[in-house]
């Protein structure tokens, strides 16, 4: 046998169209593979998307998540689109198609080799291509490459679809929680609006100084900001309590005593037989500075016509009123000065004394206005706290297993025309009996500083306040300690008892 046969070699070598014919034959197979890829990848996308939806919906049954369904279906759609996009984008190559067909038809790598050597003109490569083509033509793409999904994929899809349907049909227990949260948020927004309104009113009050107005406004703004970020009732209550605490620090601790002293003085003056003095008392009581100035001017004019005995009697009445106002040192001093000037009967001294009294009364009125504004702000915060607490209490309803004891307390608070009371009210009612309470322990405190609605009688008798809410122990003890400190300093408690009270609160702090 001849080793080389050039003529035969040439005869095979000129058959260059084999490569092109091979590619042409492979085209429909490749197209079919592409279609199969699009369908199968899309199916994968749908199945994986459904599994993701199920997973997220399952999570939303354990964690309150209002937007879970939007996220779930959004992600599912994205996965599906990605799968379809990838299937369209990654067109199966000829090499991959050849390899796939080799595997499917058990062609023993005939097509892969033929594809790789498609441009090779060696006789054996030509023979190989022909052999590959011959083998490939025995089959058809539609019979070999099925577009139907396999059983396992179909089964997986079915299971996922059933799980999704069940998750969609069975009610989510977290929906109730979400509704409560929505209600809470709505109520919170209403309270924020109410506090904002109170803030606007306080900002428009000209009677208080700009500095104090700015301070109150800052506290309210901070409270609003924290309130807006609150995700739970506890956080909201804490924000409001902190703001109230800051407001109480702005309040003049002797304001009530001064007001009482002024009331006593005005009452004493009103009892005078002298019309001008009585008018002065009325003006003091109502805080009408113009009327006060007018009545004092009339009194000064009247003094010129009075005898020394009459002036002495009048001075004595004024002196009595001054003594009644001893807790308001400025007013008391001004009244003392007026009494002396009336007794002396010197016009210049009387003029100075009336000016001093007018000034003291004006200052007192300004202080009172500031206190009123603080009270107003504090009251609005307290109303918000009560409203939020009432929402949760009503929403908790019968599910609440906590024993909430309504707090009771005595309120020596100042009464206002509206009848709303304030002051230290509703202490007690702690349901925490453990003395080793931690710093972060929630303590049930029915009443806070200034808390309590207007169920308190005018004479400060015992009244009921609304049930309190859990407040961190550290915050409560700090507030109460401050209140005790203020009360001790502003009262006539003997020094040894002051120490006793301070030691008591120090011992409480030490147990934190």
């Amino acid at each position: 046998m001849a080793i080389n046969a050039p003529s035969r070699h040439a005869a095979i070598a000129h058959d260059d169209t084999d490569g092109e014919r091979f590619i042409e034959t492979l085209h429909p197979w490749r197209r079919r593979l592409w279609v199969q890829q699009i369908l199968s990848w899309t199916e994968y996308g749908v199945t994986i998307g459904i599994i993701c939806v199920c997973f997220l919906l399952l999570i939303s049954r354990f964690i309150p998540w209002a937007t879970a369904s939007y996220w779930a279906f959004g992600i599912a759609i994205v996965i599906l689109l990605c799968a379809m996009g990838a299937a369209l984008w990654y067109h199966p190559s000829f090499a991959r198609s050849a390899h796939y067909i080799d595997t499917q038809l058990l062609l023993h790598d005939r097509l892969s080799t033929a594809w790789e050597l498609r441009d090779n003109s060696a006789p054996i490569s030509v023979l190989q291509r022909r052999d590959a083509l011959r083998q490939l033509r025995k089959h058809s793409p539609s019979a070999t490459i099925s577009l139907w999904p396999g059983r396992i994929r179909l089964f997986t899809f079915g299971i996922a679809a059933i799980a999704l349907v069940l998750l969609l049909l069975i009610p989510n227990p977290m929906n109730a929680v979400l509704q409560q949260q929505a209600v809470f948020q709505a109520r919170l927004n209403r309270q924020i609006a109410a506090i904002n309104q109170a803030r606007t009113v306080i900002d428009n009050q000209a009677a208080i100084s700009a500095q104090e107005r700015a301070l109150i406004d800052k506290i309210l703004r901070e409270a609003l900001a924290r309130l807006q970020q609150s995700s739970s009732e506890e956080q909201a209550q804490q924000s409001l309590a902190q703001a109230q605490s800051k407001l109480s620090q702005l309040r003049d601790p002797q304001a009530s005593q001064k007001a009482q002293a002024r009331a006593n003085a005005s009452s004493s003056l009103q009892n005078s037989s002298n019309a001008n003095v009585s008018n002065t008392g009325k003006a003091l009581a109502t805080g009408d500075n113009k009327a006060l100035a007018s009545s004092l001017q009339n009194l000064a004019s009247q003094l010129k016509n009075m005898t020394p005995a009459q002036r002495a009697q009048l001075a004595q009445q004024i002196e009595r009123a001054a003594n009644q106002a001893q807790n308001n040192s400025q007013l008391s001093s001004a009244l003392h000065q007026l009494a002396k000037a009336v007794a002396d009967g010197k016009p210049a001294e009387v003029s100075d004394a009336t000016k001093t009294l007018e000034s003291a009364a004006a200052q007192d009125s300004a202080n009172q206005a500031t206190t009123d504004s603080i009270d107003q702000a504090s009251q609005s915060l307290q109303n918000a706290a009560n409203a939020i607490a009432a929402t949760t209490d009503s929403s908790n309803g019968q599910n609440s297993s906590q024993s909430q004891t309504p707090g009771q307390g005595q309120s020596p608070g100042q009464t206002k025309a509206s009848g709303q009371g304030q002051g230290i009210s509703g202490q007690g009612g702690q349901n925490n009996t453990n003395n080793n309470a931690g710093k972060n322990e929630q303590v049930f405190v029915p009443g806070q500083v200034g808390s309590g609605t207007s169920n308190i009688s005018v004479d400060g008798s015992t009244g009921t306040v609304q049930s309190g809410k859990p407040v961190p122990y550290s915050q409560v003890i700090a507030q109460y300690s401050q209140m005790a400190h203020d009360a001790i300093n502003n009262s006539n408690i003997p020094p040894d008892l002051k120490n006793l009270i301070q030691d008591y609160f120090n011992s409480l702090e030490g147990r934190q």
């Binding site: 070699h9 892969s112 080799t113």
Partner: protein, 375 residues
């Protein structure tokens, strides 16, 4: 070359060619140079060459199967190695027809056959030949004169059966080395080429290992295949009775010459191999090395050394032959998996744990095939 008579030296147990054969051999050696020159050319085989290959291979396989009964797998592996141009190590207990197989092969191919019975006292010169003093007529003096002439050993044949190769000393075993690898023999200061084609078919007995000299790894690596000759099945034994103990003695028909065989070897080498198939062969080979990342755990645990690059050549070459024998024009992954066992089993050196746990290279190759990715 057609003369296939043999004589056995009583001293050495070596079957040596007679004088006439030696002359033929010298002629053959001269021809071999020409064959080597032809091999340098890179002419591609044509369709007729492929068909001839398939035809001869099929005929040869049929002939061998008709005489050597019940060893179809061994015959197939022997042919794979033969057409790949490599040597074969046959391992099996005595009496399974190893010698018959080799002899039948030489008959069917009309090749010069020599059998060397390896014994502990066999010397290298008994294999490669030696230089002796002979008398030669001198025309000038009209008398005889004594000259040194080379007496070729039995290795100067086309098919050499090295029977029980592990019984000879390593020194004698190594006498085969040069011939197997370089196809030349160096004696004294002369290097002589061996006839082409040249195949060494060595046998070794896995039993009676006492007093044997196991072949070193370097020499094992020179065998393209290690073929395990297993005991025939019951139905094959029945056929053996019919074919060997009866009145008729089967004789193999000659289906090809040595020159044709050389051409068939060249034809097989032209079979194309796709890149992914080559990559798979490389992955298979690397997986036999315990220090490779992709090696299976059992390889890491039980293998001391993996297969050499010759193993890779064996994988590819024999896969090409197998593809043609299967009627294909390309090598497939299945071809590689099929030839992996005889190609790699003698190239995987087990460590102490492997030997102690009774692990066989076949187990490891099976694991490697299972765990090596085909894509």
């Amino acid at each position: 070359m057609a003369n296939k008579r043999e004589s056995t030296s009583p001293q050495t147990g070596v079957e040596t060619a007679n004088e006439a054969q030696r002359e033929d051999l010298n002629t053959q050696i001269g021809n071999d140079v020409a064959i080597s020159d032809i091999q340098v050319e890179t002419e591609q085989p044509g369709e007729a060459d492929i068909e001839t290959f398939m035809h001869i291979a099929q005929q040869l396989e049929d002939e061998l199967c008709s005489i050597v009964v019940g060893q179809e797998r061994v015959i197939r592996e022997l042919l794979l190695s033969l057409f790949a141009g490599g040597h074969v190590l046959l391992e099996g207990v005595p009496g399974l027809g190893k010698t018959l197989l080799v002899r039948t092969l030489s008959d069917a191919l009309d090749l010069k056959f020599a059998r060397i019975q390896f014994t502990p006292d066999l010397m290298p010169a008994d294999i490669v030949g030696t230089t002796i003093v002979t008398e030669q007529s001198d025309h000038n003096t009209a008398g005889n004169r004594r000259v040194f002439s080379f007496q070729p050993g039995p290795i100067f044949a086309n098919i050499v059966l090295a029977d029980e190769v592990n019984r000879a000393t390593p020194k004698t075993q190594s006498a085969l080395l040069e011939g197997m690898q370089e196809h030349t023999v160096s004696v004294g200061d002369a290097t002589r080429p061996l006839p082409r084609p040249f195949f060494v078919l060595a046998t070794q007995n896995p039993l009676e290992m006492e007093g044997t000299y196991p072949l070193p790894e370097a020499q094992l690596d020179r065998f393209l295949f290690k073929v395990l000759v297993r005991f025939p099945k019951a139905q094959d034994l029945m056929r053996i009775i019919d074919t060997t103990v009866g009145s008729q003695t089967l004789q193999a028909k000659q289906v090809a010459s040595g020159e044709q065989l050389m051409h068939l070897i060249q034809t097989a080498r032209a079979v194309p191999v796709a890149t992914h198939v080559k990559e798979y062969a490389v992955r298979l080979l690397l997986a036999t090395h315990p220090d490779q990342e992709d090696a299976p755990d059992s390889v890491r645990k039980y293998v001391r050394y993996g297969a050499s690059p010759r193993g890779l050549q064996a994988l590819i070459m024999t896969s090409k032959v197998r593809a043609l024998l299967e009627g294909r024009y390309n090598v497939s992954l299945e071809d590689l998996q099929n030839v992996a066992f005889p190609s790699l089993r003698h190239r995987i050196i087990l460590n102490f744990d492997g030997l102690a746990d009774g692990v066989t290279p076949e187990d490891l190759i099976e694991t490697i095939i299972e765990e090596t990715s085909t894509s």
